[in-house]
């Protein structure tokens, strides 16, 4: 098999995942996109391992490790998302503004710990201005 097939598929999957990470507003959708990126990397590693006939099977070993890392990260990630949801009532990235640099002198919440009364999910159609406050940067 021509090596370009798995390599190109992996590259395209990675970029699809990258789009998802940057464009999606709901955090869980962002997590799904990260999973796509990691799968793309795994496909690369397996393809290269088979091509190189690596005696140590470094590619396959790292693939298994990446799968384990991804599972661990999803576990922690979802726990964090649930925590944010419980504290805030929404899992919408654009609405996480309390920590931004450009707050006024009193800051967003001054470290207060009162939970919001409402726990309805976010359905506002706010235009989501400017740079993504999660501050995600990429190479």
């Amino acid at each position: 098999m021509h090596l370009a097939y798995p390599a190109v598929l992996a590259a395209l999957l990675f970029c699809v995942g990258l789009y998802g990470v940057l464009a999606r507003r709901n955090v869980i959708l962002v997590l799904m996109s990260v999973e796509l990126m990691l799968n793309a990397v795994n496909l690369n590693l397996v393809a290269f391992d088979v091509w190189l006939r690596d005696a140590l099977h470094a590619g396959q070993a790292l693939t298994l490790f990446v799968i384990a890392i991804a599972a661990a990260e999803i576990g922690i990630g979802l726990a964090i998302v649930l925590l944010v949801y419980r504290n805030r009532g929404s899992s919408d990235i654009d609405r996480l503004r309390d920590l931004r640099e450009s707050e006024g002198p009193q800051g967003g919440s001054g470290g207060g710990s009162s939970d919001e009364a409402s726990v309805t999910p976010a359905t506002d159609n706010g235009p989501g201005p400017g740079p993504d406050p999660a501050g995600r940067q990429h190479a």
């Binding site: 021509h2 699809v16 999606r24 298994l64 999803i74 359905t123």
Partner: protein, 198 residues
């Protein structure tokens, strides 16, 4: 010719390539739908399709053990966790009303409203630029390189197991700490907090 599934000589080389490309297209399509659909639960389900497609690709590359691990862990638990997460954060889901219902348009709009952020056009530009770069680099590098799939299965359970435990013990053991830390961290973050905690 041995027709047993999993035998490396099962499909002719051209056959393997054709199947690989077809499954690859399906995987890519499913991934695209995952990142663009406005309906959150559908995104999770298309993700299952994408991950399953990748598992089939692993099988075609004769990495059998990894294919099954992929199915077990990714499709089996990661997606289930994501669905749990969607449900527990009360992700907006279109309720079962028909199109005839007068409020259908409004309900659907409300349920699909916040899937995408405002800067998705920038994201698209970035992703397209990255895709162009990576595909060019990769195609240029592997213009005339072929994988030889005729030899022994590269990723059977035995081969992978031997490789892991002969050569990769240290990261394997370190991962056990990682998994335990993930477990403990996830539990402690999800527990209801005790009284008096700040």
């Amino acid at each position: 010719m041995n027709l047993a599934a999993g035998h490396p000589g099962f499909l002719s080389p051209t056959g393997v390539e054709i199947v690989f490309v077809l499954v690859g297209l399906a995987t890519l399509g499913a991934a695209l739908v995952t990142v663009t659909t406005k309906r959150l639960v559908h995104a999770a389900l298309w993700l299952v399709a994408a991950l399953g497609g990748v598992a089939v690709e692993y099988l075609l590359l004769t990495a059998e053990f990894i294919a099954w691990v992929q199915v077990l862990i990714y499709v089996g638990s990661v997606v289930v966790l994501l669905l749990f997460g969607l449900m527990l954060t009360k992700a907006p889901i279109v309720p079962p009303i028909t199109r005839d219902d007068p409020s259908y348009a409004e309900v659907r709009a409300q349920a699909t409203a916040d899937a995408d952020s405002g800067n998705r056009w920038i994201a698209l530009a970035v992703a397209l630029a990255a895709a162009a770069t990576l595909v060019t680099v990769v195609v240029d590098a592997f213009r005339s390189t072929w994988i030889d799939l005729d030899e022994s299965v590269a990723g059977s359970a035995k081969v992978t197991g031997v490789a892991l435990f002969r050569h990769w013990v240290l990261p394997f053991e370190a991962l056990s700490v990682l998994l335990l830390a993930a477990l403990v961290g996830a539990i402690v973050l999800s527990k209801r907090r005790k009284g008096g905690e700040r």
